[in-house]
Amino acid sequence: MDTTFIAYSALGIGLIGTLWRIGRWFRLPIGAECQPPTLTGLWSQTARAVGRAVFGPRVTRLAKALVWEVLLQGHVLRQDWRRGIMHLGLFYGFFFLVIFHALDEFTSARLWGDYAPTLNPWRLLRNLAAALILLGVAFAALRRRSDPLLRATRHMADQLALALLAIIVFSGILLESHQIVSPEMFRTMVAEYAFIEDDAEFEALQAYWQAEFGAATTAPPKTGADTLALGRDLHADFCAACHDGPQSALLSYPLSRLMKPLANALEKANFDTLLWHLHFLVSCLGLALLPFTKFFHLVATPLSLLVRAGGTAADADAGLRPVRRAMGLDACTHCGVCNQHCAVAVIYRAIPNPAILPSEKLGALMRWISGATGTQCVSLAEGSFICTACGRCTQWCPSGIDLQDLWRASQRELVQKGYPSAHGWIRSHRPAQWAARAATIPSASAKAAGAPATLDLSANPETFWSCVQCTTCTSVCPVVAVSDDPRRDLDLTPQQVMNMMRLQLRELALGARMVWDCATCYQCQEHCPQGVRVADILYELRNEAHQRLKPDYPLGAPDEIVSKA
């Protein structure tokens, strides 16, 4: 098949795919605050926002973000210089090769009249770029292995992107090193470009190339000062315009030394054709897959960084926030930095639900928006409501995604669609109703279900038998203090919860909002004159209720829940 056709097809697929994905930003309804606006309305809003950013007073910030974050990636370097250098290597190596090597017909050849890929500095630069990429790929692969959290969240997509890059670059290097030693290549080039009069001249040129450039031959080479001098003259006449020493090829030349003994055998196996096709086809594949793999971050992430420079999501037009969120989903490079700084990532060790981790929650969110149901939604809800909204993921995200805003929006939607937090569903019934329900679910079954071991404070009378109901815990409780009417807002006060324990009415406390609204500040426990572990007991009751009373998702609409109660 015609290679041009293949190349243009790949380009076409890549372009159409990119447009499709960008178009999706305007169609994904992620937490639409206002009613879904018309597409044209969204477009004009976007155009206005872009206009304001580019022609407004914030343009200096945009410029700064473009130079410092997109081009120099200084924010990544500042977070972790090793990761920064790795990514800079990948980034600049990749762009150099795409622009000045893959597209050299349109760039290098036009800009520099004497351009030839086999001349320096091009050969050197190409090899340098390849080395940067290979080192970057190796570092990235190692990084994913070294950190346990990154290892646990490794995806095929991460491997695929790295593998594609590695295959393209390595096949290129292999091809070049083969060409350095290939006798057939030499013959073809001589036949095409050199006016050689006889075999002696051919052999002289070949001898010169073998001596100077390390080329391989089919026959044993001639030697002698005269022959080499003749060869040098011929080289100067016919070859030097496009060729100088391949020794500058940092990677290919040493590799070609290894391949030299095999040169003839590889020749016979059509190795160069094979390699060339591999190099070309995988490059085209990469181009075609750009919108559908992690490579798409090349488009989305710079935009995301620029958008962040324009202000937080809260500053944006309400109508544009969903667009921004959808773009954020695409800008994620799955680098895992958010997970490393997430305040609740440690919970993942106890509850192996990946949706607790920001990077994985992002994926779960994507699947949810694409229509996932059932257990996937339940685990997304669980992960979402474990988040404490500390904001560190947003602060650290090297792609500039306003993750905090995404979580806020998705939490709201989860509640609306019947996947509320535990604090939400516990309000669907009164404590007495929960007690009735708990009576049908013995606590032993919860234990048998592999629940994490608890302290078992509430079951042990020694824990609370010294309680004298003095109300100190209630008096110091900030949750009680903030309520105008604790009986209405909390059902029971802390000291009343302790009394339920004493009266063996533990089930009545499971659904009490005091238990669920406890801020675990431990004031009660620290002030208790009798050393009752009040806060620990409340915490344990909450865990027990969570295990025993889990509802069937999805719950009805919020209005329904209220009316049921």
Binding site: T472, R488, H527, P529
Partner: protein
């Protein structure tokens, strides 16, 4: 393992009740390098009134007008009573220093040198005490003159009924009226502390005073629960009094009480200012007596422990509620040093058969027997450690609840112990 480095000091006071606080105060005033450790949960379980001696002799239940006269009789009859080991001069000096400190810290107390004072209780009885918070001083006068008086309570405040007080006292108090006020934005059950924190806000106090003022109807005195602020009591109380234009007094509430809370927070805030290195909310985890003049005391919460090396210790750990003493099926023990506890030989002698017997129970008089320097002694009267002192309710041969002598015991014995300690430290 340890967050804090080990420390050294001259004196370690164990306990953050009235006796511990007073001991730290006296030691700091004498320039002794003092560390104090204690959980500090029990002062709010006192009313905030400071007793010296209200009843003597106990079996007769005779209420004392002059505590000093009662004390003189007590000393003649009970040589083992802690009061017998504290001279009048020391006792007076102790009170002066203690009340001076409280006044300086913004929580002044009022006392009459030669006689006890009286306050109204939340059930309408009259209680005899020695020093009262300035907010209760007007009750003493009102009880004498019995002018037309309005008693206020708050909807939801448990265990406090102005109507009940009026009904009880009304027989001997011609114009005693009761009114119940709703506290804005506070529904349901109310604890004194919550109200106290609410009335920390001067604006809330002025609003309530204005409401009461509209209901005065000729009353010449106003009583209300003791909840007027915890820290800003004085300005808030004075503002209310100004709006009302008649004498205003607080009436003690159920426990934990706000006046108790004021006491605790005053001590906790101001003792460190005097140089006491305080570890409140910490407990003693281990004790070790080394040689004659060194104790090593482990201090900590759960895991973050450290050690204090001290030359002397004052034990003010209280009785059973304070956890200085522990009673099991066979005996009463001192919980930290396992000191000999003076107690009835048999458990069935701990209590009188009649629960409400006016003479009280033998267990109430159990505790640490001490020498004249307030150092615990064993059954043979030999001191256990040369530099270990005891103060407060943990002492034997007293029944502070029935004698109404809790604060006097704490303050007086702390003073005597600190003085002896200073002498021994040289």
């Amino acid at each position: 393992m340890s967050k804090h480095r080990d420390i050294t000091c001259q004196l370690l006071v164990i306990g953050a009740g009235m006796a511990g606080m007073a001991a730290s105060l006296f030691a700091a005033r004498r320039g002794i390098d003092t560390v104090q450790v204690g959980l500090g949960g029990t002062i709010p379980f006192a009313s905030g009134l400071l007793d010296l001696l209200g009843v003597y002799p106990v079996p007769a239940g005779q209420i004392l007008t002059d505590p000093w006269e009662g004390m003189a009789r007590l000393r003649r009859v009970s040589p083992a009573h802690p009061y017998t080991r504290i001279g009048n001069q020391d006792m007076q000096a102790a009170w002066r220093q203690c009340l001076g400190f409280l006044a300086e810290a913004g929580q002044p107390y009022v006392s009459q040198a030669e006689r006890n004072m009286q306050v109204i209780t939340p059930v309408g009885t009259v209680k005899t005490t020695y020093a009262v918070p300035h907010t209760m001083a007007a009750a003493d006068d009102a009880l004498v003159r019995r002018p037309p008086c309005l008693l206020v309570d708050f909807a939801g405040l448990k265990g406090f009924s102005a109507r009940q007080i009026a009904a009880t006292l009304g027989a001997s108090w011609p114009d005693l009226r009761a009114v119940r006020l709703a506290v804005p934005r506070m529904q349901g059950e109310l604890q004194p502390e919550r109200l106290g924190r609410f009335l920390e806000n001067g604006e809330h106090c002025r609003q309530i005073a204005a409401t009461i003022h509209r209901r005065l109807d000729g009353a010449r005195a106003v009583g209300l629960p003791a909840v007027v602020g915890v820290h800003r009591t004085r300005p808030n109380f004075e503002a209310m009094q100004q709006i009302l234009g008649v004498p205003l007094f607080e009436i003690p509430t159920l426990l934990p009480s706000v006046p108790g809370l004021r006491l605790r927070e005053t001590f906790e805030q101001h003792l460190p200012r005097l140089g006491v290195r305080a570890w409140y909310q910490h407990r003693v985890t281990a004790v070790e007596a080394r040689r004659a003049n060194e104790f090593r005391i482990g201090i900590g919460r759960d895991a973050d422990g450290f050690r204090a090396r001290t030359q002397a210790v004052i034990l003010a750990t209280g009785r059973f509620f304070g956890k200085g003493l522990h009673a099991d099926r066979t005996a009463i023990r001192e919980t930290l040093f396992d000191l000999p506890v003076d107690q009835p030989p048999q458990r069935d002698e701990w209590h009188h058969k009649d629960l409400l017997h006016p003479a009280g129970h033998a267990i109430n008089r159990a505790g640490l027997a001490v020498d004249d320097c307030f150092r615990p002694v064993d059954v043979n009267g030999r001191r256990v450690y040369a530099r270990l002192f005891a103060a407060g309710s943990i002492l034997a041969h007293q029944d502070w609840v029935r004698e109404k002598s809790g604060s006097g015991l704490a303050i007086g014995s702390a003073y005597a112990a600190v003085r002896a300690c200073e002498r021994l430290l040289g």
